[in-house]
C-alpha cells in the first residue's frame, strides 16, 4: 500500500556504543564495557568525542527556527486530523494537536492528554484527563472535546480515514469532570495503542471548519497554512509538557523530487528531510555536518500470490516462489543494506509480539524447483505486476525473474506506472506486489489484511483457525498468552499463507548535525511524525 496512510513500524536497534554514550557514561565505563564486548578495537579517539558529545546532548537549547521538507505536499494538505493521509499531514497534525495517548520507541502507549486508561474487561475503558491543559485559544480541555473528537470519525460526512478503526468504538461519553468512558463494540486489549493513532488527535468540541485555522493542545500553534505551499507553526508557550518544545518556529514544506530534497538539505535551505533514498545516503554521510537516521519500521513490500482458482492459489507453488526470494540480495541491491530480513509473515522483529523461534526461510532454488514440480507448473510465462508505487517492487520482481530459471519457472515482469496502481492493479492479478505501511499493533495488521473478511485480504486467504486465534488474542488481557497466540499465528501465515514478505523496509531521514534530539519511533520516519517537540538546534 502507499506510504500514504498509516504510520507504524518496528523498533530501531541502537548500537551498544550509542546507548552507552547517550547515557553520559564516563570514558572508563564505556571502554570497560567495550572490552567486555570484545570491541576494544574501537579507537579511543572516537570514544573521546562520543563521551564529550554525551554531555553536550544532555542539555537541549531553547529557540531557533527550522525548515522541514517532507516528500509530498499538495492541495490535499489538511489541518483536520481525520483526513490525514501522508507523512506531511501526520507531522502537521502532531505539531498542532495532542492525543489521549502517544507511541513510544517500543510501540507501546504512553499517556499524553490522558493520565490513565483503565479497563476491567478490555471492552469498557475509562480515561482520566490531564488537568490544566489549554487549547491554543485559552479554552480548557474538557471531556466534551474528547467525546466530539472521537465520535466525529463515525460520521460519514467527515470522510475520516480512520472510520474503520472508529467503528470499533460504540460509545464515548463524559463520565466525570475530567473523565471519559469509552465503550467498544468488542473487547480489544490494544485500545490504548489505537488511541495513539494520529487520526484520533483531540480537537475542540464542535469544530467543523479546518480550512484556515486549527486550534489544538499541541506543542505548536498554527501561524500560516497554505495547502501545497507551506505550513508555519510557532511555539506554544502554554504547552502541557513543561520545558517543551525547544524550537521557536517550524516551517513545513514539501519537495517531491528526492534529489531536490537532498540538495535542499545539503545547501542549507532545509534542516530536516524524510524519505531519503538509500542511494543518496552515501552522499549525505560523506558531507560533513549532516547525518542520516535509519528507523527500522514494519513496512513491507510483499509479493501477492492471490488465490483466484489458478496456480497462484496452490500452496506448493506459493512455497516455491517464497524460496525463490533472495532476501539478502534484495536488501543489499535494492536498499543498500537498510532494512531487516523478513520471513513471509507480517510481524517485524521490532514488534513486541515477534516470534523469534520461526526458522528463517532461505533462498533455495532447488527446493523451489521441487515445489514447482509438485505443483505442476509448466513453462508458460507467469506475469508479475510491479510498480514504483510499491517501494522496491520493480527491482525485487526483476531479481525474482532472474532467479526463476534456476527453478525452472518462467516469470515475466509487468512494470506499470505508479499513478492508479492501487485502484487498477493491486490485488487484481494472480501475481502482483503490494506495499503495506507499518501498524502499531499486530491485531490491526491481522484484521486489515489477513482475516477471512479483511477489507484488503491481498492473497484472498481464508483460514477459519486463523480468524478464531485473532479474536481470541484480541480480547486476551494476559500478555504472555497473547504473545503465544500471535506466535502461532505467525507460524500459520509463514507455512500456509499466500504472501512473500522478503524484508521489512527502513525509513531514512537526514538532517543537519546541528539538529539534535531526533529519535526513532518504529512507526515511520521523523520520529513517528512526532519529532517537532523533541528536537532542538545547537548553535
Amino acid at each position: 500500500m502507499k506510504k500514504d496512510t498509516s504510520q507504524y513500524g518496528a523498533v530501531g536497534a541502537e548500537t551498544t556504543l550509542e546507548q552507552l554514550t547517550a547515557k553520559g557514561a564516563s570514558r572508563r565505563d564505556a571502554l570497560r564495557a567495550l572490552v567486555a564486548a570484545g570491541l576494544a578495537t574501537v579507537t579511543g579517539g572516537g570514544l573521546l568525542v562520543a563521551s564529550t558529545a554525551a554531555h553536550a546532548q544532555a542539555k537541549p537549547k531553547q529557540g531557533g527556527k527550522i525548515r522541514v521538507a517532507t516528500q509530498s505536499s499538495s492541495t490535499a494538505d489538511t489541518l483536520d486530523p481525520a483526513k490525514g493521509a501522508l507523512a506531511t499531514d501526520y507531522v502537521r497534525c502532531n505539531m498542532i494537536y495532542s492525543g489521549l495517548t502517544a507511541l513510544d520507541e517500543h510501540l507501546g502507549a504512553t499517556m499524553a492528554l490522558a493520565t490513565s486508561i483503565d479497563t476491567q474487561d478490555t471492552k469498557v475503558w475509562v480515561a482520566k484527563l490531564r488537568p490544566g491543559v489549554q487549547f491554543h485559544d485559552g479554552k480548557a480541555l474538557t471531556p466534551a472535546d474528547v467525546v466530539y473528537s472521537l465520535m466525529r470519525h463515525k460520521d460519514p460526512a467527515v470522510a475520516s480515514k480512520a472510520k474503520t478503526l472508529a467503528d470499533q468504538i460504540s460509545d464515548v461519553k463524559a463520565s466525570g469532570p475530567n473523565e471519559v468512558t469509552i465503550t467498544l463494540s468488542g473487547p480489544n486489549a490494544d485500545f490504548p495503542v489505537i488511541l495513539a493513532d494520529a487520526h484520533f488527535l483531540i480537537v475542540k468540541d464542535g469544530t467543523k471548519d479546518f480550512t484556515k485555522t486549527a486550534i489544538g493542545t499541541g506543542p505548536f500553534k498554527l501561524k500560516e497554512f497554505s495547502p501545497g505551499v507551506h505550513t508555519v507553526v510557532v511555539k506554544n508557550e502554554h504547552y502541557w509538557k513543561p520545558g517543551l518544545p525547544h524550537l521557536d518556529e517550524i516551517e513545513l514544506i514539501g519537495i517531491s523530487d528526492e534529489a531536490a530534497r537532498v540538495n535542499a538539505l545539503l545547501s542549507g535551505d532545509v534542516q530536516l528531510i524524510n524519505q531519503v533514498s538509500p542511494q543518496s545516503t552515501g552522499r549525505i554521510k560523506g558531507t560533513p555536518g549532516f547525518a542520516v537516521l535509519e528507523t527500522k519500521t514494519g513496512q513491507y513490500t510483499d509479493l501477492i500470490m492471490r488465490n483466484e482458482g489458478g496456480i497462484t492459489g496452490n500452496q506448493d507453488f506459493r512455497l516455491g516462489l517464497m524460496h525463490l526470494q533472495n532476501r539478502d540480495q534484495m536488501r543489499q541491491a535494492v536498499f543498500q543494506g537498510y532494512g531487516s530480513i523478513g520471513n513471509d509473515q507480517p510481524i517485524a522483529p521490532s514488534n513486541k509480539y515477534y516470534f523469534a523461534g520461526l526458522p528463517q526461510r532461505k533462498f533455495d532454488p532447488d527446493k523451489a524447483k521441487f515445489y514447482f514440480k509438485k505443483a505442476g507448473v509448466g513453462s508458460t510465462p507467469l506475469q508479475v505486476f510491479a510498480s514504483p508505487a510499491a517501494d522496491g517492487s520493480v527491482d525485487m520482481a526483476m531479481l525474482l525473474q532472474q532467479a526463476a530459471p534456476l527453478a525452472g519457472l518462467n516469470l515475466q515482469v509487468m512494470r506499470v506506472p505508479a499513478d492508479g496502481y492501487w485502484s487498477n492493479h493491486w490485488m487484481k492479478h494472480p501475481l502482483s506486489y503490494g506495499n503495506i505501511n507499518a501498524r502499531p499493533t499486530a491485531d490491526m495488521l491481522f484484521t486489515q489484511f489477513f482475516a477471512s473478511n479483511a477489507p484488503w485480504n491481498e492473497a484472498n486467504w481464508k483460514d477459519p483457525q486463523f480468524d478464531q486465534m485473532m479474536l481470541a488474542a484480541r480480547s486476551e488481557p494476559d500478555e504472555a498468552k497473547r504473545k503465544q497466540i500471535y506466535g502461532d499465528m505467525q507460524v500459520l501465515i509463514h507455512e500456509k499463507g499466500g504472501l512473500g514478505i522478503p524484508m521489512f523496509l527502513s525509513s531514512l531521514d537526514a538532517h543537519t548535525s546541528k539538529l539534535q534530539g531526533l529519535g526513532s519511533i518504529p512507526l515511520m520516519g521523523l520520529m513517528g511524525g512526532m519529532f517537532a517537540e523533541h528536537v532542538w538546534l545547537e548553535a
Binding site: 499538495s74 492541495t75 490535499a76 497554505s226 505551499v229 514539501g254 531536490a260 535542499a264 535551505d269 492508479g420
Partner: protein
C-alpha cells in the same frame, strides 16, 4: 488602422471564447476518463464502498457528467470558479495566490530570454556562415537538447550545494531586496532560458536571413548604410511577424509547462497546482487552471498578431 485593429481584437475575442469552451469540454471529458475520482483519491486506503458513496454524494459527484459540466459552465459565466474538491477552498482563491508567482517567473524569464534570443538570432544572421554563427548555433541547440531537470539539478549541485552562492529553493517569503530577487530567481530563470532561447533565436535567424536576401537590403547597402542600420532599421520591421509568433509560442509554455522547474525549486506556481489537481482528480481546480492557461495562450497569440499588423504598413492600410 484603428478600426482594423478593433475589428481584429473583437473577432479574436469571440474566437477565444469559443476555443475556451471547446477546451473546457475536452479537458472535462479527459479527466473524467482517468481512473478513480476525487472521492476515491481523498479517501485513499480508507475507501470502503459506503465511504466513497457518501463522500461522492457530498461532493456532488454522483450526478451525471453532463449535468456537472453544465453546472460548472453556468457558474463560470457568473464568475464563480467553484470550490476545490480536495480542500474546500474556493478555486479562484487558490489560483489567485499562485498566479502572481507564475506571472513573475514568466515575466522575468521573458525579460531575460527574449533580448538574448533576438541578439543571438540577429548576430547569427548578420555573420552567417562565420565561426560566430556556428558556435552560437551549437550552443543553443545543445542547451535545448539537454532535459531541463538535468540542467536544473546540475545548476543546483554546482551553485547551491558546492558553492553556496544561490539558494536551492526559490523561497519567496525571503525576498526583501532586489539582490535577493536576483539570487532567488537566478537558477529557475536560467533553466527556463536554456529551454526557450534556442527556438526563438533560430526563428529570428531564419526570418532575418530571409529578409537579408531581398532587393531593398541590397539597395540599402549600395546606398552605403551600415550592416547594423540595415538590420535594425530595414530588416527587423519586416521580420517581426514570424519572430513575434515564435516568441508567443515559446512564452505560452511558461505558464503550464514549467512544472519540472517548479517541482525542483519548490516554486509555488500554477503548473504544479494543475498537476496536484489532476492527481487528486479535483475537477473544478483542473478546469480553472486550464482556463487560465488557455486564456494566457490566446492573449499571447493575439499580441503576436497585433505586432505583425502594426509593423506592416500594408496590413495597416487595409
Amino acid at each position: 488602422m484603428k478600426r482594423q485593429a478593433y475589428r481584429l481584437i473583437a473577432s479574436r475575442l469571440g474566437l477565444a471564447l469559443l476555443t475556451l469552451l471547446i477546451v473546457s469540454a475536452i479537458v472535462f471529458a479527459m479527466t473524467g476518463l482517468l481512473p478513480g475520482d476525487a472521492a476515491q483519491e481523498a479517501l485513499g486506503q480508507a475507501a470502503t464502498p459506503e465511504a466513497v458513496a457518501a463522500l461522492r454524494h457530498q461532493l456532488g459527484l454522483d450526478q451525471p457528467a453532463l449535468q456537472r459540466y453544465l453546472q460548472w459552465l453556468f457558474h463560470i459565466v457568473s464568475g464563480n470558479f467553484g470550490m476545490s474538491l480536495s480542500n474546500s477552498l474556493p478555486v479562484s482563491e487558490l489560483i489567485a495566490t499562485r498566479l502572481p508567482n507564475s506571472l513573475m517567473l514568466a515575466g522575468l524569464t521573458t525579460v531575460v530570454a527574449v533580448p538574448v534570443a533576438l541578439a543571438i538570432g540577429i548576430l547569427s544572421a548578420m555573420y552567417r556562415g562565420s565561426l560566430l554563427d556556428r558556435a552560437l548555433n551549437l550552443l543553443t541547440l545543445s542547451t535545448v537538447a539537454v532535459p531541463e531537470f538535468l540542467v536544473a539539478t546540475i545548476a543546483v549541485l554546482i551553485f547551491a550545494v558546492n558553492l553556496h552562492w544561490l539558494p536551492a529553493l526559490s523561497y519567496l517569503s525571503s525576498v526583501s531586496s532586489f539582490s535577493d530577487l536576483v539570487r532567488i530567481y537566478a537558477m529557475p530563470v536560467m533553466t527556463l532560458c536554456c529551454v526557450l532561447i534556442a527556438q526563438m533565436a533560430r526563428m529570428t535567424r531564419a526570418a532575418v536571413l530571409d529578409q537579408l536576401n531581398s532587393g531593398y537590403v541590397e539597395m540599402a547597402s549600395l546606398k552605403g548604410a551600415s550592416q547594423v542600420r540595415i538590420v535594425l532599421r530595414h530588416v527587423l520591421p519586416n521580420a517581426i511577424g514570424p519572430i513575434a509568433n515564435a516568441v508567443a509560442l515559446s512564452l505560452s509554455y511558461l505558464f503550464g509547462g514549467v512544472v519540472i522547474v517548479e517541482s525542483i525549486f519548490n516554486y509555488p506556481g500554477l503548473a504544479s497546482l494543475m498537476v496536484d489537481a489532476v492527481t487528486n482528480r479535483d475537477m473544478p481546480l483542473v478546469q480553472g487552471c486550464v482556463m487560465v492557461f488557455c486564456a494566457a495562450y490566446l492573449a499571447l497569440v493575439l499580441l503576436a498578431d497585433l505586432c505583425q499588423i502594426i509593423s506592416n504598413p500594408r496590413l495597416r492600410q487595409r
